[in-house]
Amino acid sequence: MTANAKNDETWRRVAVAVPYLWLFVFFLAPFAIVFKISLADPVIAQPPFTASFDEQGNLAASADSFRFLLTDKLYVITYLRSVLMAGGATILCLALGFPMAYGIARSNPATRNLLLLLIVLPFWISFLLRVYAWMGLMNNHGVINNFLMWLGAIDKPIQFMYTDFAVFVGLAYSYLPFMILPLYASLERMDLSLVEAAQDLGATRTRAFWDVTWPLARAGVIAGCLLVFIPAMGEYVIPYLLGGPESLLIGRVLFDEFFVNRDWPLASAVAIILLLLLVVPIVVLQRYQARDQESAA
């Protein structure tokens, strides 16, 4: 009996330890390394940054990279542009995804599974390939321009490619499923008679939506927005392939600092600030949600 209990206790610890170990090895430790590099100075050497301790064993850290980042307008503007781009893509995904998720959640079970399959289907094709496909659609002799010219709506191609518009479309397209799935999950659980009850008590269809459906889908909306916004913020491939040279986003700056300029400390600082930009709002949001749940309990 006691041996059994002891055994259980051991297993419980193992079960808890595994994810912590995972997070430590693949998240916390790399983060510590990146943070350490961000406090070093760049040198032309192997590795391309100074050690954290000099020969006397004194701490040799400097916040130069951070200072440079926050004073150079280029970086500040790029951060802002990234927030706007990712935010815009998130809103577009929400606007497109909500009605789709709603439709799927309200369809009959057989159709529902088919529709869900169609949402997930694009994942079976490489992400890179799908972005390339958008190049084929949007370039000057691409499908969209050819079609519009054939219609006679325009007489010379519209410049889609290498603009912010193309990046925007690419982001929204790629991350739409991440919006739809959590929205679907929260809408599907909802009791339809709640909406009917609201209508019965005097709410029009629109009013019932804002009073009942929307607040009850909020968890799904928040999850979907985070799932789109976070990866869109750091997106590198889409702006690189679809965006122009001047449509700089933070993911591309990060890449260029690492591999083109080989300024590892600055690149690390860019990454740290990006992380803070993402983590701070999420923590605030979680606090808010936890308080919400506490007051309910």
């Binding site: 009791d191 008679s193 709640l194 009917e196 009850a197 609201a198 209508q199 019965d200 008590l201 005097g202 709410a203 029009t204 009013r207 009073d211 009942v212 607040p215 009850l216 309910a296």
Partner: protein, 363 residues
């Protein structure tokens, strides 16, 4: 005024499926009316048409003289209590109850006052600021009731109001519902599959099957004078004997039954002819069981053997096998306390009933 709610020739089709088939019904003001039937009989569809969630394929609905057939749910003087109660999980009790008045644009003070009155009516004053997930099933039911009543609807629709409660609570809540209805004088239309619930609650009952009303009447009429086999079977248990009509007179009929081996008389109804095949039906509690042949003149008396018996405390159930092999159920009150059994298996017995206790069933 008999036709406070007037349903005229209502039908509802879902594709080829006829959910409600040409139903006519009049309900008086202040009635507690039940629609009783098994699952899929169309009772919920009928209720949803009254609420405005389904549009009838044909026919009209009038409430208090106004045609509401094509009115949206939010325009009707009707409120509904849903089977799942449909309490808004993101609002507390007071907000749930106030919802209908807020949509009406009633002043805040007035809302507070009326919510207070409702909370008192359903005895939830101390639960004003609770969230729905902190409430028991019975409390949720009362929140749903208060929320539906606060707008003082002309008609309150209740979809299986007690189905989600356990047996004890159900009985208690039944009487609460009746008291509230009595106090407010609002017309209640209840949909239920539970015959006992319908019997105790209602002033009148409509028994429904396959989209049609099989009989509409007071609980007593439905139980004592079922019009047809379906109603007789659906409400309680009943013994039926196939018979051929031999005599039709003013009081009733006489019919010979092979199953009973006797001529049975019963209170008749119009439109019965000599030679017609009918069924004569008797409720188990209307049958007397005895060891000796009863002397009562005019009673129907048949000989049989006790095939099975069951002791239920307040009463005993017997299954009596007649000479024809027909089984008859008899229910008898245990009026005297006795340790030994009055009847044993395979005892020879007489069963008897008064002709007035039997009814004629057609179809």
């Amino acid at each position: 005024m008999k036709d406070f709610i007037h349903i005229k020739g209502i039908s509802k089709l879902f594709g080829d499926f006829v959910a409600v088939d040409n139903v006519d019904l009049e309900i008086a003001r202040g009635e507690l009316f039940s629609i009783l039937g098994g699952s899929g009989c169309g009772k919920t569809t009928l209720l949803r048409m009254l609420a405005g969630f389904e549009v009838p394929s044909s026919g009209t609905i009038e409430i208090d003289g106004t045609d509401v057939t094509h009115q949206a749910p939010y325009d009707r003087p009707v409120n509904m209590m849903f089977q799942s109660y449909a309490i808004f999980p993101h609002m507390d009790v007071a907000k749930n109850i106030a919802y209908g008045l807020r949509k009406e644009g009633v002043a805040k003070q007035e809302i507070d006052k009326r919510v207070g009155e409702m909370l008192e009516l359903v005895q939830l004053v101390d639960f004003r600021n609770r969230k729905p997930e902190q409430l028991s099933g019975g409390q949720r039911q009362r929140v749903a009731l208060a929320r539906a009543l606060i707008k003082q609807p002309k008609v309150l629709l209740l979809d299986e109001p007690l189905a989600a409660l356990d047996k004890k609570l159900r009985e208690q809540t039944q009487f609460e519902l009746m008291n509230i209805q009595d106090e407010l004088g609002i017309t209640f239309v209840v949909v239920t599959h539970d015959q006992e619930e319908a019997m105790t609650l209602s002033s009148r009952i409509a028994v429904m099957n396959e989209g049609r009303f099989k009989q509409v009447g007071t609980p007593k009429e439905i139980y004592e004078f079922p019009h047809n086999r379906f109603v007789a079977d659906f409400i309680g248990t009943i013994n039926t004997f196939e018979a051929v009509v031999t005599v039709v007179n003013e009081d009733g009929i006489e019919a010979y039954s092979d199953e009973a081996g006797e001529t049975l008389s019963a209170l008749g109804r119009q439109l019965i002819e000599v030679g017609q095949n009918i069924e004569v039906a008797v409720r188990p509690e209307k049958i007397f069981i005895s060891k000796e042949k009863p002397e009562e003149a005019g009673d129907v008396c048949i000989e049989g053997v006790v095939d099975d018996l069951g002791y239920l405390g307040n009463r005993s159930l017997y299954r009596v096998r007649l000479n024809s092999g027909k089984m008859v159920q008899v229910s008898s009150q245990n009026r005297r306390r006795s340790i030994t059994r009055f009847l044993e298996w395979e005892d020879k017995v007489w069963i008897s009933w008064r002709p007035r206790s039997a009814v004629v069933l057609l179809d």
